[in-house]
């Protein structure tokens, strides 16, 4: 227990796999834990972790205990060896909050991110199974995962490694597929199915604290599901599902009652003012920095009480832990056992008696003045510096060209950092790879503070899979190495495509969301060596940039209707004449049927002709006879 407990402490710089580190996880067990960590600027990181194992033979036999049946069946049907699903919202403020929980391995880019290793003989089969998987998960999690089509699917080469223990025989047939939906808005409808997968389903234990209102009001939140096979040494392999929810709560905002969430101005006399200002008066108040003093209770910030232990959980795992200096006052309900670990000064855990109805936790206000003034150091643990800061933004303007700039800073004064930077860009962002440039500026060393210079040393390796129009997006993976205390400005240009009229999404003028870049920090040589010495593999850590909003040339969508109306009018006018000409049979005037008046006239003419003819005939006969007579007479 001791070891698995250690593994749940987030923010260790290179923390080792929980299970490979633990000695004896039971064949089928369930753990849950809530880790609270006060952060600077009035924030609080709450990490929920739910983990259950099931042995592989039982899983194969459809014998599910803690493992959710709905998900298990999907995984079996789609031949999934390992699954990672992320729902994220907001951004992690690394400058203030420091390094990420779980080293960033349990978070995704804004929206929904899914990657999985599928068991397939060929790429086509893998694609087929991926389609099955995304469609099934889409139904299960009420997310538009079915929109992860071929244009959004990539097969990362350098960025992701299987986290579970796979035998070498299956490794050969495993296909990694990765898809992101940056525009997907994560909401309560995704939380409900997430909670349903838990054995206690949010009715008891730490999961009873989870509430959509508070979770989605958080400054940053990430829901993660990881399914992977784990084979502890000398034991049978188990399939492990780990569900994680991390969120950063703004304490002041979370404390607002749910029925009155509007931040109305507080009464003037309650304002904390800086009374040393010369103009300070009844109606004039320069607010003091009220950002640091924290004061909260568990039910205040989550809006709910924690309903005891989940009866199915391992009773030896403390359900709630708090990471704060020991000088921080923490009050809990009676008969709760506080555990302080000798090795870790900043951690306290609370073991609840099994019959506990409600669990209360309160962190009182600690006065910054008076006889025993407290400081920030008593309030929260100073966050660890992350290994890398990453920021990405669009450059340029206009409808034709654009650029992307990523600013990557290695804050460490002495160690270099090596990582893989992966972009999966939509096909309509036609990137020019020849414009890819990495310029570097050093903060230390002989050329400190000098302007940027090009550096070929930074980029170590590039894997590039170009886009195909309407078929697949660009996949760009770059392995980079940044020397200590340096900042790299990596930039590339792209061209914007004019889409077809029907390819624009609703609200086309909003622009197109571009997925976050995934940065995988590779373990440094020293860490890798240290891990290898104890027979383990050093873990990577992750980082994701924010998304981007790409503005493509957008047509005026009323225009097509104008065109339709205009062309309809033209066709209506032209059609009559043209149709008339096409279907009419042209005949000579004498060939066609006659109109009555003409007919009458013709009949009359004929009659007259006949009459004339007769008369002439008669006259002719008469003259002939006369001639005959004349001839006779001659």
């Amino acid at each position: 227990m001791q070891l698995s407990f250690t593994s749940l402490i987030p923010l260790l710089p290179f923390f080792l796999s929980p299970v490979s580190a633990s000695t004896a996880p039971a064949a089928a067990d369930y753990h849950e834990q809530l880790n609270l960590k006060p952060l600077p600027q009035n924030s609080l990181l709450a990490s929920f972790n739910f983990r259950s194992n099931t042995s592989l033979p039982e899983f194969e036999a459809h014998n599910f205990r803690f493992f959710p049946r709905s998900l298990g069946q999907i995984l079996q049907h789609a031949g999934t060896r390992e699954l990672h699903l992320r729902f994220s919202l907001g951004r992690w403020d690394a400058e203030t909050w420091g390094a990420r929980p779980w080293d960033g391995t349990k978070e995704g880019g804004t929206g929904v991110e899914l990657w999985a290793w599928l068991d397939a003989e060929s790429d086509a089969e893998a694609d087929q199974k991926w389609l099955t998987l995304t469609n099934a998960l889409s139904g299960l999690f009420c997310a538009s995962l079915n929109f992860i089509d071929s244009t959004r699917t990539t097969r990362p080469v350098m960025s992701f490694r299987p986290e579970g223990d796979h035998p070498n025989t299956t490794m050969d047939n495993m296909h990694l597929l990765h898809g992101v939906l940056p525009r997907e808005v994560v909401c309560t409808e995704n939380l409900t199915p997430f909670l349903k997968l838990l054995p206690c389903k949010g009715k008891a234990g730490v999961s009873s604290l989870l509430d959509g209102h508070k979770l989605f009001d958080a400054s940053w939140q990430s829901m993660a599901i990881d399914v992977k096979p784990v084979c502890p040494v000398g034991e049978e392999c188990v399939l492990q599902i780990e569900q994680t929810i991390d969120m950063v709560l703004d304490i002041e905002r979370s404390k607002r009652p749910r029925d009155n969430p509007i931040p109305r101005p507080i009464p003037g006399h309650e304002l904390k003012c800086n009374t040393t200002k010369p103009y300070h008066a009844e109606d004039t108040c320069f607010p003091t920095d009220s950002l640091n003093a924290q004061e909260w209770t568990l039910d205040q910030i989550f809006g709910k009480h924690m309903l005891g232990n989940c009866p199915l959980t391992d009773p030896k795992t403390p359900p709630v832990c708090i990471q704060a200096p020991h000088s921080r006052d923490v009050f809990t309900s009676m008969d709760v056992q506080e555990l302080k670990e000798s090795g870790n000064e900043n951690q306290r855990c609370y073991l609840l008696p099994s019959n506990e109805e409600e669990f209360h936790l309160a962190l009182p206000f600690m006065p910054r003045d008076g006889d025993r003034p407290k400081t920030d150091a008593d309030e929260f643990v100073q966050p660890a510096t992350p290994l890398l800061y990453a920021e990405r933004s669009l450059t340029g303007h206009g409808q034709e060209h654009g650029g992307v700039q990523a600013i990557l800073t290695n804050p460490s004064p002495d160690s270099e950092v090596e990582f893989v930077y992966m972009e999966s860009l939509p096909w309509f962002m036609r990137i020019y790879l020849h414009t890819l440039k990495a310029r570097i500026s050093h903060r230390t060393g002989s050329d400190a503070g000098q302007t940027l210079r090009d550096d070929d040393e930074v980029i170590q390796e590039i894997y590039y899979r170009p886009f195909l129009d309407r078929k697949r997006g660009t996949q760009l993976e770059i392995r980079m190495k940044i020397p200590p205390g340096s900042t790299v400005f990596m930039s590339y240009d792209f061209e914007k495509t004019i889409l077809r009229y029907t390819e624009y999404p609703p609200d086309a003028n909003r622009g197109f969301d571009v997925a976050a870049a995934v940065i995988t920090i590779l373990p440094s040589n020293s860490t890798a060596a240290a891990a290898a010495a104890v027979g383990k593999v050093a873990r990577t850590s992750n980082l994701r940039t924010t998304g981007m909003l790409l503005n493509l040339p957008t047509p005026d969508f009323s225009m097509p209707y104008n065109v339709i109306i205009f062309t309809s009018t033209c066709i209506a006018l032209a059609f009559g004449g043209l149709y008339n000409i096409l279907v009419r049979r042209f005949v000579g005037r004498d060939e066609g049927p006659e109109v009555s008046l003409v007919k009458l006239r013709r009949r009359l003419q004929e009659a007259v002709q006949k009459l004339k003819g007769r008369i002439q005939e008669k006259l002719g006969v008469a003259s002939k006879e006369a001639k005959k007579l004349e001839a006779k007479s001659d």
Partner: protein
């Protein structure tokens, strides 16, 4: 279409004597209709009431909560800002940075240095990003509170309101877009530097990169509130650089929130007492046209508009009962509306003329006015081109050109006797070869001559601007006489060559102006109107044997010399209070002219304003060539 017109007129004009005489009258008619058209626009039948086109905006549909104890904070911020009035830019920014950081915002600073007319304008912008609590840096809206407004007044209340509002905004979790508060030291160069750098189109030698950025800008509101007293209503300034305008929905939203929710008056174009009658509407529209035509920045918001970021400046004006909190609530309401937007503002109009805050005409209605005026030049140009192809009617047969007269020996001569009989011999004008060398070189030369003053006035120190401009104007007044004398003595241009010269420069003018009309209607209309006498130029001495008439017409043209017009306008507007940004400044005419020229050089260098280009390379050459023709 022009091609078919040309062929059609070539077919008819040459044959029919009535049609041959018609073009000047058609041109005159077009000018009259064009001008009359503009004056019809304010009528109820031709303008429309404004409406909100983008349903997502929902202006005035939210409760605003900025008030109560926030006013105590605002008072404190006003003291803080007031105490910094005489400090340097860096000291101010240090203090502001500290305040922003204590509010929990991300802060960036940016240096810029511009040099125009020998003056160096340097400063440092400070800006703070309030990251949307649940957002991910894809979109942002901007609040600008410049340290000094365009008139150079200290924007004390504006900045205090912006600070208190930002602190208040921080408490809300509903923002879907980041909010950026920009505090430039001035309203002219600072915002431009910031916006340029935000979109990475800056010259990094003059303007520094931005250390932190957010997402795509969806809108910007600038506060300009130097007055200390309570105010009556707000004045909305909306003109952008080069006469580009923000989406009409933005202006409508602010007007709607101000009048509907806050009970404030709102006004535009300095028309504080607008009673919605024809006269006021026309004045308002003309003021808008002057601002649009000049194309300069009228507020800190102007620099945003060329980047397709809809922006306006809100100025509280008058003496009333509304206080800063009211302004804050107005801005809160507007930000809530902008925050609702799913898409970039695109529904409503980008090309419009406002004649009252709630009445406008859109491009389809007003564009014909400028187009008709531009068309008048083209029609005359085509008519002259056709005419120049025929020999003059009364050929004496003694001229040297006789040899080149190439009588058409059409097939009518022999076989088709019937047709030849019907047409009288007078109608059968012989065609002639066109002498293109002199006209083309004169027009091209004058066209390129315009680049000289354009370069000079954008690079000369400000102290030299006024004397140099007056000198240039005087030179340009004598230039046609000199050129004409030189031409007449050296080349002895024929009537046909004068016709071709006129045709070419009018063709260019018509082409430039009709193109410009779609970009900047007002500039095209104003230049077109001032250039209308050029349609009727005619070599009086050579053809009508009336040298006196030529000199009279030349004198008329001298009054409409571009330089003379600018000098006259600068002096005239000094006291009348409108236009050229000179209102309310106590200047001598000399200084006023310098001010205008500095503004033009500043606009060219910093804002990318193209008005000087139109002035020197479209209007000026046309005027010179026109005057030469008149004196011919």
């Amino acid at each position: 279409m022009c091609g078919s017109t040309a062929t059609a007129s070539a077919l008819f004009v040459g044959r029919s004597p009535t049609l041959q005489k018609a073009p000047p009258y058609i041109s005159l008619l077009l000018i009259l209709v064009g001008v009359a058209w503009l004056f019809m626009l304010p009528l109820n039948d031709y303008s429309r009431r404004t409406y909100i086109s983008e349903n997502a905006l929902l202006p005035g549909q939210v409760h605003t909560y900025f008030g109560g104890s926030d006013q105590n904070v605002l008072r404190a911020y006003r003291h803080e800002v007031g105490a910094l009035e005489n400090n340097t830019n860096t000291e101010v920014n240090d203090k502001l940075e500290h305040m922003f950081r204590s509010m929990g915002l991300k802060v960036g600073r940016q240096n810029y240095t511009y040099t125009t007319s020998g003056n160096t304008i340097a400063g440092e912008n400070v800006y703070a990003i309030l990251q949307a609590p649940r957002g991910d840096a894809t979109e942002a809206i901007v609040l600008v509170a410049a340290w000094r407004n365009v008139k150079g007044e200290f924007n004390r209340n504006g900045l205090a309101v912006a600070l208190a509002l930002t602190r208040y905004f921080k408490r809300w979790s509903l923002w879907s877009k980041d909010i950026i508060l920009v505090v430039p030291p001035d309203s002219r160069a600072g915002t431009q530097a910031w916006v340029d750098a935000y979109h990475d189109s800056h010259d990094s030698r003059r303007v520094a990169d931005l250390p932190i950025k957010s997402g795509a800008l969806q809108g910007a509101i600038a506060i300009d509130f130097p007055q200390e007293e309570r105010f009556e209503g707000v004045h909305i300034v909306y003109d952008g650089i080069n006469g580009q305008l923000p989406n009409l929905d933005l202006i409508n939203s602010v007007t709607n929130i101000a009048s509907g929710q806050m009970g404030m008056g709102s006004s535009i174009q300095n028309m504080f007492h607008h009673n919605d009658e024809y006269r006021d509407r026309l004045t308002c529209m003309l003021r808008g046209m002057v601002n649009q035509g000049l194309g300069h920045a009228v507020g800190p918001h102007s620099s945003f508009i060329p980047y397709h970021v809809d922006a306006i400046t809100i100025q509280p004006v008058g003496q009333g009962w509304h206080d800063e909190m009211g302004l804050g609530r107005l801005i809160e309401g507007t930000f809530r509306s902008l925050n609702n937007l799913l898409e970039h503002l695109h529904q409503s109009f980008f090309f419009y003329l406002l004649m009252q805050k709630e009445r406008f005409v859109s491009i389809g209605t007003y564009l014909p006015s400028a187009m008709l005026i531009a068309a008048n030049f083209t029609i005359t140009a085509i008519a002259l081109w056709v005419k120049s192809g025929y020999a003059p009617k009364k050929t004496t047969g003694a001229t040297a050109k006789e040899a080149k007269v190439d009588v058409i020996q059409e097939k009518k001569e022999g076989a088709d006797t019937k047709k030849a009989m019907r047409e009288s011999p007078e109608d059968l004008q012989p065609t002639v070869e066109r002498e293109l060398y002199l006209p083309l070189s004169l027009v091209t030369g004058c066209q390129f001559l315009g680049f000289v003053p354009l370069f000079v006035f954008n690079h000369v120190p400000s102290s030299l601007l006024t004397p140099l401009f007056i000198m240039t104007t005087l030179l340009s007044l004598t230039l046609p006489h000199a050129l004409s004398f030189f031409l007449v003595t050296t080349y002895k241009p024929t009537h046909q060559q004068y016709q071709l010269i006129t045709s070419f420069f009018l063709l260019l003018l018509g082409m430039f102006l009709s193109t410009l009309a779609t970009l900047n209607f007002s500039l095209a209309f104003l230049v077109g109107l001032l250039a209308t006498p050029l349609t009727f130029v005619h070599p009086f001495r050579l053809v009508s044997k009336l040298p006196a008439a030529g000199y009279a017409y030349s004198a008329l043209l001298s009054l409409l010399n571009p330089g003379v017009v600018v000098l006259g306008a600068a002096v005239a507007t000094l006291h009348s209070g409108m236009g050229l940004g000179l209102a309310g400044l106590d200047l001598t005419p000399w200084e006023a002219i310098q001010k205008v020229l500095e503004e033009s050089a500043f606009g060219w260098g910093v804002w990318g304003m193209y008005t000087p280009l139109i002035f020197w390379c479209v209007w000026f050459p046309a005027w010179v060539v026109g005057s030469v023709v008149v004196l011919g």
